[in-house]
Amino acid sequence: MLREFTKGFIKENPVFVMALGLCPTLAVTSSVVNAIGMGLAATFVLVFSNIIISLIKDFIPTKIRIPAYIVVIASFVTIVDMVMHAYLPAIHKSLGLFIPLIVVNCIILGRAEAFASKNNVLKSILDGFGMGFGFTFALVVIGGIREVLGAGQFLGMNVMWTSYKPMLVAILAPGAFIVMGLLMGLMNLKKKK
């Protein structure tokens, strides 16, 4: 049981190991706050859509399962979108386009669970949390590195020496790719040992 939960962190980390859901991962990690916001939003969608899907999957004919599940996932994404817009307008603004795009992401992350296995509701929830937190974890790591290097800050606080001139590229697109690549390489190195 616990394994369902923990595997998402390292062994099956959706970002580092499976390289899925890359767009939000790279697009929103220019700061840690954004990373946390995106991670939690995705976790919410994952958990709830996992619940609903594992409840209704027996009633859905195969021919239309794809649209059906998409609807479920997209609904939760819309909910997150609305709620964030209402209560966390700042983060909602900086995540922008990538909130609706959680749909795409979660289709990938969530459907593995929904279709490939016949798990019960509890397991699905755990898996959702595991994957979601793994995703969040990855986002925070990447966001942390990029924010520290690229802005000299962590969660908005200055952490570098005063004369530090931020390495801007870290919060731009190229920096996102390179940090991501190096982290993935590091994971591979760790895995080998």
Binding site: P67, T78, P100, N105, I107, M184
Partner: protein, 195 residues
């Protein structure tokens, strides 16, 4: 600006300056996933161009004639993704039946596209940027072309790196990311391009 210049500017922007993949972070999964072989990259690229254009058309229509008149903008995400998914599936089935050759070279990539954020992304961006119908279609088309361009470049590079002494830990995805980083750095050269 006359219309032609506008179209040209739009193309340059969508393909180079605001490249979907390298600058906007859209469609990264296929960019990394389907860039191992040049042939697949080309097939995928063509399929994406096709679907992005189609999706732009349909989502624009839905947005303009259903969602806005009834003040249902909040259903945008769900309506768009549903439309795109169904559209793709439909097209796939039709091509598979009616044009098997086309299916072999192009159609097999179609299912991938549902889970390509670039498609949903372009649909939403069309709305956000308040494009008119023509603008939406062209944006979809050129964004697809931009995607294909970098995808094919990436595939070329990765085919070459297949035969190189890349450190084992960096093989595969990590080095692809580094290449993407390098490409993004190079594409910064187009930053601020204006006519």
């Amino acid at each position: 600006m006359n219309y032609f210049t506008q179209i040209f500017a739009l193309a340059i922007a969508a393909i180079f300056v605001q490249n979907f993949v390298l600058m906007k972070f859209l469609g990264l999964c296929p960019y990394i996933g389907v860039s191992k072989k040049l042939d697949s990259a080309l097939g995928m690229g063509m399929a994406v161009i096709f679907v992005m254009t189609m999706a732009s058309v349909f989502t624009w229509l839905i947005q303009t004639y259903l969602l806005i008149p009834f003040r249902l903008e909040y259903l945008q995400t769900i309506a768009f993704i549903l439309t795109i998914a169904s559209l793709v599936q439909l097209v796939e089935m039709i091509i598979q039946k009616t044009a098997p050759a086309l299916y072999k070279s192009l159609g097999v990539f179609l299912p991938l596209i549902t889970t390509n954020c670039a498609v949903l992304g372009v649909a939403i961006l069309n709305v956000q940027s308040e494009y008119n119908f023509i603008g939406a279609i062209l944006n979809g088309l050129f964004a697809g072309v931009g995607f294909t361009l970098v995808l094919v470049m990436m595939a070329g590079v990765r085919e070459r790196l297949d035969k190189a002494e890349v450190p084992p830990a960096m093989k595969g995805m990590p080095i692809a990311m580094i290449i993407a980083g390098g490409m993004a750095l190079a594409f910064l050269g187009f930053a601020g391009l204006k006519f």
